[in-house]
Amino acid sequence: MSSDTPASPRRPDGGRFRILIAKPGLDGHDRGAKYVANVLRDAGFEVIYTGIRRTPEQIVRAALQEDVDAIGISLLSGAHMTLVARLTGLLAEHGADHLPLFVGGVIPESDIPELKALGVCEVYGPGTSARTLVESLTVHLEKHVHERPA
């Protein structure tokens, strides 16, 4: 069996945390999304990678089917307000608004409060280190997993 890194976080039932990584919108620059997927794998997460140019509808269905513990999306094109609003709206419609939603990419500082008001858990800007990302995500996940409805 695999050797866990000490930091490797686990769900209370012993399973791995599952995180969906997606790029909504039309932008195809997936370096950041893939980098994060690799970072999370190396931190012991199971990452469901869904690729580029996903619609909010596709992301929500994938998140439900995969029963993920969180969703991470990467946004670079400036369409973040429109896309995040649609995504959080759909999550609520599907009874999945309890899922923590994380945003990474090029997001102007001034848009962050509005994104958080829409329900985004955390925004990770350019230059966020892998360690910071994993630590922050783990804190949110461990908090969330206890509040999650059965």
Binding site: S2, S3, G44, E46, I48, T50, G51, T55, L64, Q65
Partner: protein, 330 residues
Amino acid sequence: MNVLPDDLIAQARDGGHIGMRAGARLMTLLENDPEKQAEFLRKTGFPSGPRLVLGITGAPGCGKSTLVDALLAAFRSLHPDARIGVIAIDPSSPFTGGAILADRVRMMRHAEDPAIFVRSMASRGHLGGLALGVGGVLSVMAWMGFDIVLIETVGVGQSEVDIVRTADEVAVVLAPGNGDSLQLLKAGLMEIGGLIVVNKADKDGAEALRDGVLAMLELADTTRHREVLLVSATENRGVTELASRFESLGSANSHRRSAETRREKARQLLLQLATRRLEHSLENHPRIREELVRRIEDPSGSWTGLVQDLLAAAATADSIQPSPRKPSHV
């Protein structure tokens, strides 16, 4: 949380997003604790499985996910009313236990199709255990009412054999120019499939590869019926034919779907779970471990004796304590 929530089990039969969510949760619960399968099967009255369970295996890079994507489209048009599930397995990192499950990427055109449900799984480093996890997801899919389930395997190693035992029929996918495909052939892994698919038929070398496979099959034992098909998943050539062949070969194994077989399979599953638990208990039993290590290190001792002692103890049914007897010599 030792008990599966009954409301989840009930909700999983809902055809809409509530059922989708409940089913997905159950899959997680069974994947993280395969022993819950016994409870699940009991509570759901051993649901009759999907009409058809098909396995797709093959070396990395031979286009398995693209083929599954094409097969989904083919089955959807052959059976417009059928609900189809996919179980896609990717390897876990042996170093960190994490995984990137990316098979969905190539199936996203079906992402909004309410009749299709895709579940990704990490191999989690288990060999036999992975088949148990897959069995759990499969039984939830059965309970949810899926008619056809496609299982896409990691494509390397012994775990393949376990997983494909679950399927009614298996296709081994090969591709020209894929060195790993050749390794697979040499290792005899194509033995596990009744269908051998030479994918990427649009590429040079596809026909030569098919001829090579046919020649190999002539040399091999002929007791089992095998078919070789040329397919191009990207150009959607030969896929409908593959789907039909898959279906008729798989249905020929439909005796596996009889009530008697289902009960037998469930018994086997429970037995497997129990054996696994027993193994685990023995391995982690401090005194047994200690005794075992001692006997292995003792040049004149016999560790098989310990097993006999344990079995004898089980036969008298009082206790399975290892014999407290000290060796007479030092």
